[in-house]
Symmetry: C2
Subunit: 251 residues, 2 copies
DNA sequence: GATAAGTAATATCATACTATTTTTTGTCGA
DNA sequence: TCGACAAAAAATAGTATGATATTACTTATC
């Protein structure tokens, strides 16, 4: 039987991996950092091989991975060139994981939230429009998981992620599903930074707002579902802003 | 000097390419078609090699590409397994190109439009909030390109795509930029199916609606920009629905 | 049952060879 | 002498092949 899926592990643990994954992440992060500006050429294969002490096979497969994510493009005789940032696929679990590893700065946070505010209320509205009885049952189950006491940051984050994945699924739109999956995984990583479980009031508000979403979806009320989803996102933003201000004061 | 970018060519032409790209597209499309259900295992390497008559190198690089897009995951001794559809990266130029090649059915169209209606008005609003003088100038230039006469489907589609890319760029949000780039490229492929240039009234309405977007962005009016963007999308939807109905009648 | 040996699949390595394009060089004609 | 075209060379990624390493499942052994 297939294993249960490693939900957050990809973003959080990142331990020992294949040399391919290791080097892909390293080069990916260097690209994200802007070490190789768009339009410039990456060093030729032999040089990269030299640098990492691996076989050409590994390097080539890494390049294929980076090319698949829109970062580079290779041409015979010409070399491997970095593409314009516009073509970099930020809607990608690996890319976001690399980005998070680079640091969770304000700019990145806000960009993520902007996308989330655009997509997720729309997803909630679609879910309200098309939800099946099964979807609603799954959401209620998620809610139960979230509201059961005794959560730590990790376990609450997983429950929260699961909730949003189910909403994405209920839209019946594959693109929404895949977007929700990617975005939320990255967002939830922020829970490692500041989490609702640290503050009882925050915790209660978060769970309550999620319950509102379920109610609206069950009732088939699109605009209420979208509105409730917006509230959930905003609560998260406030928490993060608050944490930041407190940390700034401490310094 | 770097070449001008091949905007649509990736989605439309798809000519002779490397065997890697060819096989990646083939397997990617088979996966999209559901030929290998999630959870199942792909045939082992030797069998795939047999099938395509290429070297192991090529097959392995194809697998890395598919893995990078979230379609499969390979493990030593276990084999290559198809992942749940939720993890497939639909926000990807290649994946959308494969999907388009499979056919532009209603369901796909509407899914695309739903995402577009969620993201692009938000992008327009952000652009209105942050636009630079340079952005506005670029948009005006795009508009001029769109409204100059003598367009064929391809050339108008390119001008339209460029417009939306500039809007995405003006948001200053990398995720918005990359999303706009991917989505619009796929959407614009629909212009090969039905284009505003075929009908003078439609053409005029489309250009006019785009002009409204620029005006709103320049004025910094977020909600007007979002609203105008919604109108642009809806005009496109109407055109496509109309084309479909006429084609259905013909049969 | 727990442990160890075997085995089948991908992961990596090493070394060729091929194909494609850019650059250079050479040739011819004006 | 200059310029235009053509042929040759060189550089780089693309493909091919076979060997070894690693890993997780299976079976055998105690």
């Amino acid at each position: 039987m297939p294993q249960p899926l490693p939900l957050l592990s990809r973003l959080t643990l990142e331990r020992a991996k294949s040399s391919h994954d290791h080097i892909a992440a390293l080069l990916g992060m260097e690209l994200l950092k802007g070490l190789y500006p768009p339009g410039s050429k990456l060093p030729p294969e032999p040089q990269i091989i030299e640098r990492f002490h691996v076989s050409r096979t590994v390097i080539r497969e890494v390049m294929k991975t980076l090319a698949a994510k829109g970062f580079v493009i290779s041409k015979t005789r010409v070399g491997t060139r970095v593409r314009e940032r516009m073509y970099w696929n930020y809607f990608d679990a690996d890319v976001l994981a690399w980005r998070v590893r680079l640091g969770f700065d304000d700019e990145f946070m806000h960009g993520l939230v902007e996308v989330r505010r655009a997509l997720e209320p729309a997803a909630a509205a679609l879910a309200a429009q098309r939800r099946s009885a099964q979807d609603v049952a799954s959401l209620r189950e998620c809610l139960k998981q979230m509201s059961r006491g005794g959560h730590n940051r990790q376990s609450f984050a997983e429950a929260d992620l699961e909730f949003h994945l189910v909403v994405g699924n209920a839209t019946g739109n594959p693109m929404m599903r895949s977007a929700a999956s990617v975005i939320d995984t990255a967002l939830v990583a922020s829970f490692m930074y500041s989490s609702p479980v640290d503050d009882p009031l925050d915790y209660q508000a978060t769970v309550g707002a999620h319950a509102d979403i379920v109610d609206a979806i069950e009732a088939g009320d699109e605009s209420a579902a979208a509105e409730a989803m917006r509230r959930v996102i905003d609560i998260g933003v406030e928490r993060i802003d608050l944490t930041r201000r407190m940390q700034a004061k401490k310094r």
